[in-house]
Amino acid sequence: MSDRPLDGKVAFVTGAGRPRGIGRAAAIELARAGADVVVSDVARPGPRIGGVPTVAEDDGGLHEAVAEIEGLGRSGFALVLDVTDESEVRAGVEAAVDHFGRIDVLFNNAGTPVGVKPFLELSTDDWMHSWGVHVMGCVFTCRAVIPTMQVNGGGVIINNSSASGLRALPDYGAYTATKHALIGLTKTLALEFGPDGIRVIAICPGDIATDMADLGIALAAQELRLDPADQQSLAPIDTIALRRRGEAAEVGRAVAWLASSGASYISGESIVIDGALMEGL
């Protein structure tokens, strides 16, 4: 396998605005693998939980990402778009295709911790927001990007689900349900667009050291009225076989590999990146 298996390819990443996030790490790893990369994010004030932002609230992170991609000798392109708004997604995909001429890899990464709450406290708005980001966000980008991939003769779509897409946790009601839904969507897309040479894959990261994972843990701790110092007991390293949290770059490297021809016969699958968190004790 070449060192730069994605030379000449163009990747499009959503939710790439936060410095510690999986989106940023994947954008960098895709660029290291040779791709030019569109980095997008909602990049505006969004829901806050306990005063803590759940999204990148400006486009500063996107511009840092572009600078880092260009430092690797690839081209980057920053786009502000809200994946829950189909017209913004369409305009963004058009702008990206105008800029780079094609999209070969789509990484649907945008996510939200809204939806992590005890079931009886989850509002309908919380449910709709979680569904909007995790499921409709993917639907909108896929509707916009798949026709261009069909014309190009193929492509790869990678959807960031979660360990919560396969297993459940208390207080993760809407998050768990919508991440499960994303896996079903992945399988259907793989069957429908296999004949077009489009591979569609879900990834299921476990406990990765990101702002969103930290906020989810903090929220669950708050619900259980745990002292902040005891929060670690909600994400105990001891339950992870490898005895450490994952790094966003480790997920990013898996994304870059899945996007490459090294994974040419993998489609519709859910690839778990969790240090064997879910495999047993």
């Binding site: 793989a190 490898l242 590999w257 016969y265 993998i266 699958e269 778990v272 064997a276 004790l281």
Partner: protein, 271 residues
Amino acid sequence: MSRFGLDGKRVLITGGTSGIGKAVARRFAEEGARVGIVGRRDDGAAVAREVGATFFHADVASEDGIRAMLRQATELFGGLDVLILNAGIDPGLAPMSEVGSASFERNLDVNYRHVWWGLSLGPAHLIDGASIIVTSSTLAVYKVPNTAHYAAAKEAVVSLTKSAALELAHRRIRANAVLPGTTLSEMTPPDHWELPVMEKMLPMGRHATPDADLVGLYQFLASDESSYITGQAIVADGGMTLGMSYGTLLALGAPAELMSPRARPGTQAHE
């Protein structure tokens, strides 16, 4: 070190003289790994020369053979970074009532016990941070009539792989299983009846070849690029086990006009 760096890694592959194992051996050697392949074939040494590997003559279907293989590899390489338990046999198609005890035992020895011995005896020869890869099959998770004992062994080795991942994680040793679908290899030659039948079931419309479609997965799992992936059973089957493909629906008599335009008969699927 290169991106999927295997430079200087010491790799031992059972069943490395043909099929997927041979393709993996060739690629790994090209990528700078020191590769040992294990088997009983008389032409094993010639195959090893051809792919740039070393041949260890041993019968992986016996505990003594696995011990001998590990001893020889450790003597030559001084330790192992990657262990690929890939040897397998196709015990042939038969309903359970017609699988005799000879076929049952032979399947158990190669497809199950070899992995058990490899996972129980191998780690003493592996460095901390090593990677173990076990070749299973989609039959582990998707059953087809007349393959009962083969499918059971292939499911059992997934279980062994997960247990090994948990038991060996404290040494940062990762263990993962690969579940290929129908793959063009010596086990499934081009005139095999399965191929045209299974092809209809494949959403991607083509069978896997070891070189183009599977070697990359072994390389990813062997390299540090997959550093947080352990205990997994990774299916590489072109989407076959997801559900029904358009090809299956058409073969069953579903009207073509209900299909996606690109999936209708006479439409060439993309590579």
